[in-house]
Symmetry: C2
């Protein structure tokens, strides 16, 4: 009975996505429409649609039952841009500047002194410890609800320095289409990102259609406080989990508990997620976004300070995983180009 319900559900999901109105329980005519209009015709697009057709065709030896159709996506550089610095770091910098008037001592205390002076070189020279200190004051010490409010305010107002647009305008249109296409074919889409969970959860449902419970990421510890009937989850200045590199398969195991059959990343931080995906039985799809378009977006790979694509690229080429060439494979990069 579960099998029947599942296969009916798939039919219906496909139907809803196609926007086709017809009689349930009998045959129907499906609207012939391109599910990936922002992808140029070619090998990249074909490899995706061929894979989805194979795993969703009942009776095919590659058929994957709906509950096992797990697709995982890195976020930074895979679903949205990550230059000139990771957007969450920009949020931390902006937020620290906003908090500065309440902390006059920051004027003479590092790393805040360098941050407030706009001296990014001096800031970078202070290394990871400095970054953690800025994350600590902007990401912890408040309730989860207060933090979500901080993120929501920033994400709906702050502008990207190059494009002068909201950061959520810098999502990749072809990837939005890919997410919707997979969901229409019975896949459950997850984010598996090095960014922190609650920074993403504040907006992923609205922007990607990915609900909070399908966001896996790095996290700070939280602590439950009862507060005389007004309970809160307080964000503690202690890292709970780093969801990057070898942490990605760990995060997938912990939060999802199934191995993905479809995984997409863009950097060496995603290599282990793709390897973990590839090592499963049956049909698998592994993809990388290669940033090759300096004009419409950015061009960077082996020597980049963010989203370095080096070892994962070599492995992808060697093992025949898809490497998307943004410049040539994507008709449109950002939704606002349409």
């Amino acid at each position: 009975m579960m099998t029947i319900a599942v296969s009916r559900r798939t039919m219906l999901t496909t139907l809803l996505a196609a926007g086709c109105c017809c009689c349930w329980g009998s045959t129907w005519a499906q609207t012939p429409s391109d599910p990936l209009p922002s992808w140029n015709e070619g090998a990249a697009k074909k490899s995706i649609t061929d894979f989805v057709a194979r795993v969703t065709t009942a009776g095919s030896s590659d058929f994957v039952p709906v509950p096992e159709r797990i697709a995982t996506f890195d976020n930074d550089g895979t679903l949205w841009a990550e230059q000139p610095i990771y957007f969450q770091i920009q949020f931390a910098f902006d937020r620290a500047k906003e908090l500065a008037p309440q902390h006059p001592e920051w004027k003479t205390r590092q790393p805040f002194k360098a941050l407030l002076a706009g001296d990014h070189k001096a800031l970078a020279a202070q290394g990871e410890k400095a970054l953690f200190e800025i994350l600590r004051v902007t990401h912890t010490g408040m309730s989860t609800e207060a933090f979500t409010k901080d993120v929501t305010e920033w994400i709906t107002t702050a502008r990207h320095p190059r494009f002068k647009r909201l950061y959520t305008d810098l999502v990749y249109q072809p990837m939005l289409e890919l997410l919707a296409y997979l969901r229409a074919n019975g896949f459950k889409t997850f984010i598996v990102s090095g960014g922190t969970i609650e920074f993403m959860r504040a907006w992923t449902e609205r922007v990607y259609g990915i609900p909070p419970e399908q966001v896996v990421g790095s996290s700070f510890e939280t602590k439950y406080q009862f507060n005389d009937g007004n309970p809160r989850l307080m964000r503690e200045p202690k890292i709970d989990f780093i969801d990057d590199k070898a942490g990605k398969p760990v995060g997938i195991g912990k939060f999802i508990g199934r191995r993905p059959v479809f995984a997409f990343g863009n950097s060496d931080g995603d290599q282990q997620m793709l390897e973990w995906t590839a090592a499963g039985n049956n049909a698998r799809f592994m993809g990388l976004v290669h940033h090759t378009d300096a004009e419409r977006e950015w061009a960077y790979d082996r020597n980049s300070h963010v989203g370095r694509l080096d070892k994962a690229w070599d492995e992808a080429v060697r093992r025949g995983w898809l490497v998307v060439d943004m410049k040539n494979d994507w008709k449109v990069i950002f939704p606002f180009e349409k």
Copy 2:
């Protein structure tokens, strides 16, 4: 557009659950059937169906949009039995005995000596450290896949000492109906249990219809090993997270990222989950299973060594949360009674 898709999906889900065949897009006659046939008519059942009607009626001031319909259930004592000892502990004991021939030194080493001699009193006297040692040898040191295989073998063969049935036969029929009823009304059902995640994930989809990615629980750390192209997640002898008491709201925040609108437990370990649920805005439902039926199941509460129900009971009574009286509210307890 998302709203339309969601409300259509709800209609369809309800439809599928009702087993009603009709024309999609036009009106239909819904099969009038009782979604909770194993619940006796009365205040308990009515409080559930009234709540679901209120939060799913468009235009109602208590209406909850589908994506926010999060329902969380404790497992031990709420969805299945937990006497005479938690079933996962029984698994650990059985598994340790199975492993004993490979460890002749256990005959003289505690806590194994007491376990192998069947001396549960001596075992209990050794406290939590002894229990952790038995968990360590049975739950860690292997890959996640090997552990899932161990659990699957046990759960499909081991028999409960009193009922001489599979442990998965000792799930509560009224709760299975409640899970299905909530899902048919657009709720996403989660387990939030003190038991460990991977012990539950091995069978919750088959038994409860709850997929691995909707199981929140305690966990051991895992470590990614690449092993020359044969990657594994190895289970480490280190506790990662305890999903009990104040850990339950923390686990909900971490794994789900939304506050439940519906939560069910049975013991003081669930008190904080219910408090966290209750503190949300708008309509909320909090329930406790009270074990009152020594004949068909067990009767225990304030002084029980497992599933103690004491402070949470007092709070439930004071705040008007549902306290299910198993003996009087449930027509049938286990599916095999039908």
